[in-house]
Amino acid sequence: MKKPLSFHFFSFVCLLLIAYQAVEVCAAPGSSKKQSSYELMTAENKAMQDDSTLNPAMFWVGDGETLWNAKPSSNKSSCASCHQDGKKTMRGVAAQFPKVVNGKLQTLEGQINQCREGRQDLPKLAYESKDLLALTTYIAIQSKGMPIAVKESPANREALQTGKKWFYERMGQLNLSCAQCHEERAGLKLGGSLIPEGHPNAYPIYRLEWQTLGSVQRRLRNCMSGVRAQQFEYGSPEMAQLELFLMWRARGMPLEAPGVRP
């Protein structure tokens, strides 16, 4: 018995719908919409980030501006000696890090220390020290609202692949990878808290848990201790590779620095 035309039409439409759904599911990650953990915060905490009269991180911006312009001593140069007005020259800079500079993969903190040692003849600043956080925050706020511009390039390809490996590899006594929580289970809950996608699009952040401002490396070390893994050292190549992958993964998202997080 021959099937009616309406049957063929109906099944064709169904096939189209199924095909459309399949394409959606198979869409490459990174091209679908990314969610900032800002969306998961309460209204009060969002307001704390958005309003500069309420955001405690603004103190670090002020400290950073002072440090930027201060001459360490009469015969040494300040940041401003080379880079002039940071508000102009540092615009868009933080959104490009980590990047390969003179053959070495540098995070923003690493680059600041490279300038201090290499150009200013000053000792490196310790990670999470007040001064390094202040300078990082001052530079990062100049890119506030700008899209994260970390792209894959021949120079960073290998480091990016290694960073990707860190993200997808299981680690620690709990034997969990970053991806298992932040990609597979983003949006679900862990102990009453919503699991974010884990984009570093707001760093440096004033974290309520720390009751102070801190860097993305501090947060990554927290994650690693959370799964009882040996933490990457501050300023290590592994840390830079992971940070590079995470910023590449967050590419296109606006930089919210300096952010507030719970």
């Binding site: 704390m48 309520l208 201790s225």
Partner: protein, 162 residues
């Protein structure tokens, strides 16, 4: 007019059951967390007593706003508003905020004047645990008024180990 009255036996049984239920909750709470149930509430009561000197506290006129669910207890936005004309003869002299569940119940005291214009204060406080927070307003005529707010404080899932 027809009035339905329950016989005395049902009334007293209901009363007894209610009392038993309340006592059970108190005992269960004390079993699981004796310090929370008894000690901190006592400290809060002592702190409030020190403020009022035993004067009766009226309910009302004071509105305390804290988020009902707190993501992190280290920094919680707290707003207190007191209804008052704020004139030279009728104004709020002081607002005291007491947290029942904190190791130290006193959080802050704000001293206002007729020049304040309004009795609205916003600050950010630390809340150690899920609890009730009290705001006690002392008026220029010596009377005390109170309001309260309850909140649930959650902790972050991944702990920091430095």
């Amino acid at each position: 007019m027809k009035v339905i009255m329950h016989p005395p036996t049902i009334q007293s049984r209901r009363l007894w059951l209610t009392r038993f239920k309340n006592m059970s909750f108190l005992l269960a709470g004390a079993w699981f967390s004796p310090l929370t149930v008894f000690a901190k509430k006592e400290d809060a009561a002592i702190a409030i007593q020190a403020i009022t000197g035993g004067t009766k506290i009226n309910q009302g006129r004071v509105t305390l706003v804290i988020p009902p669910l707190v993501e992190n207890g280290n920094l919680v936005v707290l707003k207190v508003s007191v209804q008052s004309p704020m004139t030279a003869t009728d104004y709020v002299k002081a607002i005291h905020v007491i947290a029942e569940g904190n190791p130290l119940p006193n959080i802050f005291t704000a001293y206002l004047t007729p020049r304040s214009g309004s009795a609205n204060i916003t600050t950010r406080v630390r809340l150690a645990d899920s609890q009730t927070v009290w705001a006690i307003a002392q008026m220029s005529n010596g009377s005390f008024w109170q309001g309260s707010a309850e909140t649930l404080v959650t902790l972050s899932a991944c702990t920091e180990a430095i």
